[in-house]
C-alpha cells in the first residue's frame, strides 16, 4: 500500500530564492501569497529558513502551535478562511529568542520532514521561502522537492551591484540543479518621499532588470521601498487588502498576475 503523498493535492510549487540576504524573499513570499489569495487561490507557505524564520510574524501567527494528525503536521492557518496555511520552524520553538544553532545534517533532516510530513491538503500554490545562500537548505529543499516537479523559482534582488553579484550565483545554482527560473524581482527599487514625492534611489536602480536581460530570464518588475509595506509586515496585516493605493501595490499584484498567467498558459 503506498501512502498518498502530502504534496499530492498541491498543484504548483514555487521557490523564492536569492543569493543575497535581506532583499525581501520573505516579503515577496508573503505578498505573493496574499495576492494569490485575493485571486481566489488556496496558498501554502513553507518557510525553510531555520536560522531566521520570518514568515509566522508576517502573518501575526507566531504564537501558534503546530498540531499532529494522521498524515503528519497540520499547517497553521492564517485565519478562519483557511485560504493561507504556513509551516515554519518558528512554530516549533519553545521560546522565540532561542537560536537554532544547527549544523547542516540536522537542518537537512528537518527540511526533509517539512517537505514530506506537512498535511497541506489541496493547494493551488505552495510557496517555499528560503534563507539566503546556496548551501544545505537549498540543496536539501531542491532534492526533496524534485519528485514533485516544482514550477520553478522566483529570484529576488535589490538593485545594487553587491546584491546582483550574489544573485548571479543563485542563477548558477538554479541551472546546476535544473530549477526553472520564473523570473527576477528587483525589490527596494527606489523610494518616493511621502512628503514631497521626490524619488531617491537609495539602493541604486536597474541592477535586477539588467541581470534578467543578461541571463535571459523574465523580469517580473521593480518593487519600490514602501514604509506602509514594512509597517504592514511588522503588524502581520494584509497589505494587498488594506493598502491598494500604496506605492508597492501595483508591482506586487503584477508579479502575482504574471505567475497566474504563467500557470494558466502551462495548463492550456
Amino acid at each position: 500500500l503506498t501512502e498518498k503523498s502530502n504534496l499530492a493535492g498541491v498543484r504548483h510549487i514555487l521557490l523564492v530564492l536569492s543569493g543575497k540576504g535581506g532583499v525581501g524573499k520573505s516579503t515577496i513570499s508573503t505578498e505573493l501569497a496574499l495576492s494569490l489569495r485575493h485571486s481566489g487561490k488556496k496558498v501554502g507557505i513553507l518557510d525553510v529558513d531555520l536560522s531566521g524564520p520570518s514568515i509566522p510574524c508576517m502573518f501575526r501567527v507566531q504564537d501558534n502551535d503546530v498540531h499532529q494528525c494522521d498524515s503528519g503536521w497540520v499547517p497553521v492557518f492564517v485565519d478562519q478562511d483557511k485560504s493561507i496555511s504556513l509551516m515554519s520552524i518558528g512554530f516549533l520553538l519553545e521560546k522565540p529568542d532561542d537560536a537554532v544553532v544547527w549544523r547542516g545534517p540536522k537542518k537537512n533532516a528537518l527540511i526533509k520532514q517539512f517537505v514530506a510530513d506537512v498535511a497541506w491538503g489541496d493547494l493551488d500554490f505552495l510557496i517555499v521561502d528560503t534563507p539566503p545562500g546556496t548551501s544545505d537548505e537549498h540543496i536539501s529543499t531542491v532534492e526533496a522537492l524534485r519528485p514533485y516537479k516544482p514550477l520553478g523559482a522566483i529570484l529576488v534582488t535589490t538593485p545594487q551591484a553587491v546584491s546582483v553579484g550574489d544573485v548571479r550565483r543563485e542563477l548558477t545554482f538554479c541551472k546546476k540543479t535544473g530549477l526553472r527560473v520564473l523570473g527576477i524581482v528587483e525589490n527596494m527599487s527606489g523610494f518616493v518621499c511621502p512628503h514631497c514625492s521626490e524619488c531617491t534611489n537609495i539602493f541604486s536602480k536597474g541592477g535586477g532588470e539588467e541581470l534578467a536581460k543578461h541571463a535571459g530570464v523574465p523580469f517580473l518588475g521593480c518593487v519600490p521601498l514602501d514604509p506602509q509595506l514594512s509597517q504592514s509586515l511588522e503588524e502581520g496585516r494584509d497589505f494587498i487588502q488594506e493598502f491598494p493605493k500604496s506605492s508597492a501595490f501595483p508591482a506586487l499584484t503584477h508579479i502575482a498576475q504574471q505567475i497566474l498567467d504563467g500557470t494558466s498558459q502551462r495548463s492550456s
Binding site: 531566521g52 539566503p132 545562500g133 518621499c193
Partner: protein
C-alpha cells in the same frame, strides 16, 4: 541509512579541532592583537558594509595593521566592496597571501578563489568549515592589530566553526548589526543568544538603515520602522550596548558597488559621523580589553 558519521556531524563533534590543529591555529593567530566578529541573525542589514567601513576606519591609522576576513562562503561581498574584484590569491612558502587594498589593510575571501562572477559555491556545511579553517591556518597574515571577520547571516556551520577555531586564539567580541524593524530584531535576539551560548562577548549593537532624510525636503521617513522600539529597546532589554545608529544614505550603496571607502567618499554625511563614532567605541573597547589582559599577566 546514510553516512555512519552523521550523528557526529550533527552534534558538531566532527568540527571540533584536534589538539594538534588547535596548536597550529594558535601559532598562526599568535600575532593577532584584536579580533572582532561582525554578526547578525538577519541577512541584508549591512554586515559586510560595516566590516568594510570598519576596516577602512581602523586602517586610516597607518601605524595599525588591519586584516579583513570574509567567511561568507556562498555570498562573498567583501572583494567587490573593497574594490578587489577579479583579484586572485597567491601562494608563497609561508602560505596564502592576503590581497592588499592598502599597505596596512589585507583581505581574504572565497571570492578571490572563484574564476567567474557566476561561479556558485554550492557546498554543504563540512566543506565550508574546511575552507574557514584553511583561511585561518594557511593565510600568512603577519602581525595584525585588528582582525575583522565578516560572517554570513544566521547561526549555523560558519558561526560555530569560526568561534571554535578562533578559541585557539582570542576573540575580543562581536559587533552585531541590525535594522530597526522587529522582523530583523527577532533574528538578532537569536544571534545575541548564540553569543551567550558560545561565551562570545558582545561589544555592542549597531542599528543600520535608521531613518532616511529626503535630500529634497529634508523630512525624515522611517522606511524600516522601529515598531517595537528598535535596537535601543532591544539593547535595554538584553543588557547590551547600543554602539550607534546609522541613517540610510544612497552614497553608502554606491561606494560599496564601486569598491570605494564611504568614509572618504562622503566625509560630511551624517552616516559617516555615526560610523566614526561607532568605530571609536570599538577601538576603546579593544584597548580596554588589551589593558585588562596585560594587567592579568
Amino acid at each position: 541509512q546514510g553516512c555512519p558519521n552523521q550523528r557526529l556531524c550533527a552534534g558538531g563533534a566532527a568540527a571540533a579541532t584536534d589538539p594538534g590543529e588547535a596548536a597550529e591555529l594558535r601559532e598562526r593567530l599568535r600575532a593577532v592583537k584584536h579580533t572582532v566578529l561582525v554578526l547578525s541573525g538577519k541577512g541584508g542589514v549591512g554586515k559586510s558594509t560595516f566590516s568594510a567601513i570598519l576596516a577602512h576606519g581602523l586602517a586610516a591609522d597607518e601605524a595599525k595593521q588591519v586584516a579583513l576576513l570574509d567567511i561568507d562562503i556562498c555570498g562573498p561581498s567583501i572583494p567587490k566592496m573593497m574594490g578587489l574584484e577579479g583579484e586572485q590569491v597567491h601562494q608563497s612558502g609561508s602560505g596564502w597571501s592576503p590581497v592588499y587594498v592598502e599597505e596596512n589593510l589585507g583581505v581574504m575571501s572565497v571570492g578571490f578563489l572563484l574564476s567567474s562572477p557566476d561561479d556558485a559555491v554550492i557546498w554543504r556545511g563540512p566543506k565550508k568549515n574546511g575552507l574557514i579553517k584553511q583561511f585561518l591556518r594557511d593565510v600568512d597574515w603577519g602581525e595584525i592589530d585588528y582582525l575583522i571577520v565578516d560572517t554570513p547571516p544566521g547561526t549555523s556551520d560558519e558561526h560555530l566553526s569560526i568561534v571554535q577555531y578562533l578559541s585557539a586564539a582570542h576573540i575580543d567580541g562581536a559587533v552585531i548589526i541590525t535594522t530597526p524593524q522587529e522582523v530583523s530584531l527577532q533574528d538578532v535576539r537569536k544571534e545575541i543568544n548564540f553569543c551567550h551560548k558560545v561565551k562570545l562577548p558582545v561589544i555592542g549593537v549597531v542599528e543600520n538603515m535608521s531613518g532616511f532624510i529626503c535630500p529634497k525636503c529634508k523630512n525624515e521617513s522611517q522606511i524600516f520602522p522601529p515598531t517595537t522600539g528598535g535596537a535601543e529597546k532591544m539593547c535595554q532589554n538584553l543588557n547590551v550596548s547600543l554602539l550607534g545608529k546609522v541613517p540610510l544614505d544612497p552614497q553608502i550603496g554606491k561606494s560599496c558597488d564601486k569598491g570605494q571607502s564611504f568614509l572618504s567618499e562622503a566625509p560630511e554625511s551624517p552616516a559617516t559621523l555615526s560610523y566614526r563614532n561607532i568605530i571609536q567605541r570599538i577601538q576603546e573597547y579593544c584597548d580596554q580589553h588589551h589593558f585588562q589582559e596585560e594587567k592579568i599577566i
